[in-house]
Amino acid sequence: MADTALLQIEDLKIGFPARDGGEVTIVDGVSLSVNHGEIVGLVGESGSGKSMLALASMGLVPRPGRITAGSIKLLGEDTVGLPDRRMQDLRGGTIGMVFQDPMTGLNPVRTIGSLLSESVRRHQRVSRDRALEIAEAALTSVGIPAAHERLSVYPHQLSGGLRQRAMIALALVNDPAVIIADEPTTALDTTIQAQILDLLRAKLVAAGGILITHDLGVAAEICDRLAVIYHGRLVETGPTADLLAAPRHPYTEGLLRAIPRFDRSRPRLVPIPGQPPAPSMDRGACSFRPRCDYAMDACAKAPALTPDGADRSVACWAPIGAPVLERRA
């Protein structure tokens, strides 16, 4: 199905200059594709490289960081190294982004109406009035009441939930083929989060999208497929239900065990020992080795992400559930 992918990231590497003059790799050889009508969840701990991957897809890797290898194909067109002008056409047109903090995504000194209509006019040849009509329709479609009046308010005049809806409207206003949402509900209350997840499910499924989150529960709510990232590398991918029911990578298993659940007996939580790695940690060995219960000699060499049964892949020398002989290999 590779040729039908809306977004296809291949072997992507992102680096930042290091203090010693070298370069620190913070995203290391990630491949990920999004098909039409599919929501892919990118899950990992803080600092694992999720936002950098999202920003790279938008052509927005902050300087002095840069893409050092790989390709990002948007509807078949490689966007790595594309001139700024062309990237601006794609951004907000073919690919839309929702950020964690609506205040980063929405310019605070512009009204909602002018933010939206300007984006419309950048990507569509329409009159100012028509652009405002499209903007109003976008606000209505994300469930903002009194959309017409809301065109003339500033982002800070909206509640947290409405502001997040406005940002989703901005990401969607030109009917992008792909939408990337980076922690879109992390700053919201549980009941508002449920509203926004409902909305995102409806909107992302109509195109194709990536939902970035550190919360496996949130990903489980709306994603078809999950990709788990650790130390800038994908360690496991697969259909949501399969992956959650039978994680293959020790890190995924660890994340699932660490989540508190409603259980009258209150079993002790099982944390993952130690800390997530610093991006500069050496990549020669499996990055999870210092925290892994299953580590063995072979783990001194980093395992590659390898296909593992139907639609799944895992980067581990001894995936959980593999036959014992294989585990000893």
Binding site: T191, G217, L244, L255, P260, R264, P271
Partner: protein
């Protein structure tokens, strides 16, 4: 036995440019010795204000705070000092709550010195023991907070909070800023400390599953009021207030249980412009005329259960079995 902490009818009003903001509107709460009370609610519902008021960092406009039977509502700083020793706090942001220029040794030693608990050598030994008790490496003492991760900084804050072996620790979102894998480490640490020292906790958190995991009792706030209070199990198995039902139903889960969701409409109203009647009525799926006209008082519905709703228990959870039974089936 008198409860360790007993606050009644607390009122806190803030004067803001937009008008009077009623942050706490008649809040009563109790914490018994050695127990853990969880406090949940939407952001802006007054949880932090309540925590700060109980710590005597905000002066209430009304109500009373009894600590171990002693009225501390208006105690002057000097008279408050012996109480402080027994009442400590941990904050959400492990970055902001530690002085960046102080070594970990000084941070943890500070309360010990302030309360003159022993000689220099004794304090030194106590700091080393605390560093060990919260799972930090021995060489942590000489380092600055900036050299630690979020989870480790929260361990430093915990070491400082338990240094004087207080009776009550108020923790405002102690693990919200941490990754799941680290959250579990800190939750287990708090539980171990409680078992060893018999400390009571009042824990503010927004993750209901996490609160249920650590709390004996849960108090739910909405717009400056307590709307429900019950044992942790009762609250989860049979929530009575419609807001609690919505909160429980909105909890994201990795259990592929196909559970249906009850999604509330609308945003929480502003505490400056509070709706008349029941504060939840603009969003309540079962609101009727009476709810917009009268405010339901917090009343006991059964032993240890209180709810502020005219129609408690009427909004059913959108699933057939208690959540905890569902878990069991999935686990099998």
């Amino acid at each position: 036995m008198t409860p360790l902490l007993q606050a009644s009818d607390l009122e806190v009003r803030f004067d803001t440019p937009k008008g009077i903001l009623h942050a706490l509107d008649g809040v009563s709460i109790e914490v018994a010795r050695g127990e853990t009370v969880g406090l949940v609610g939407e952001s802006g519902s007054g949880k932090s204000t309540l925590a700060m008021t109980l710590m005597r960092a905000i002066d209430p406009d009304g109500g009373r705070i009894l600590f171990d039977g002693q009225d501390i509502t208006h105690l002057k700083p000097k008279a408050l000092k012996p109480v402080r020793r027994r009442l400590q706090m941990i904050f959400q942001d492990p970055y902001a709550s530690l002085d960046p220029r102080m070594t970990v040794r000084r941070i943890i030693a500070e309360p010990l010195k302030a309360h003159k608990t022993g000689s220099r050598a004794e304090i030194e030994a106590r700091v080393a023991a605390l560093i060990d008790a919260v799972g930090l490496p021995p060489d942590a003492a000489e380092r600055l907070p900036a050299q630690f991760s979020g989870g480790q900084r929260q361990r430093i804050a915990i070491a400082r909070a338990i240094a004087l072996e207080p009776n009550l620790v108020i923790a405002d979102e102690p693990v919200s800023a941490l990754d799941v894998s680290i959250q579990a480490q800190i939750v287990n640490l708090l539980r171990d400390i409680q078992e060893r020292l018999g400390i009571a906790y009042l824990v503010v958190a927004h993750d209901l599953a996490l609160v249920h995991q650590i709390a004996n009792r849960i108090v739910v706030m909405y717009l400056g009021r307590v709307v429900e209070e019950a044992s942790a199990d009762d609250l989860i198995d049979a929530p009575q207030h419609p807001y609690t039902v919505a909160l429980l139903s909105a909890q994201p889960t990795t259990d592929q249980d196909g559970r249906s969701r009850l999604v509330l409409k609308g945003d929480p109203p502003s505490p400056i412009d509070r709706p008349p009647g029941c504060p939840f009525h603009p969003r309540c799926p079962i609101a009727r005329a009476r709810c917009a006209a009268e405010t339901p008082p917090l009343t006991g519905v059964s032993d240890g259960r209180r709810v502020a709703c005219f129609y408690p228990g009427e909004l059913a959870v959108p699933w057939d079995q208690p959540v905890q039974e569902q878990r069991r089936e999935i686990a099998q």
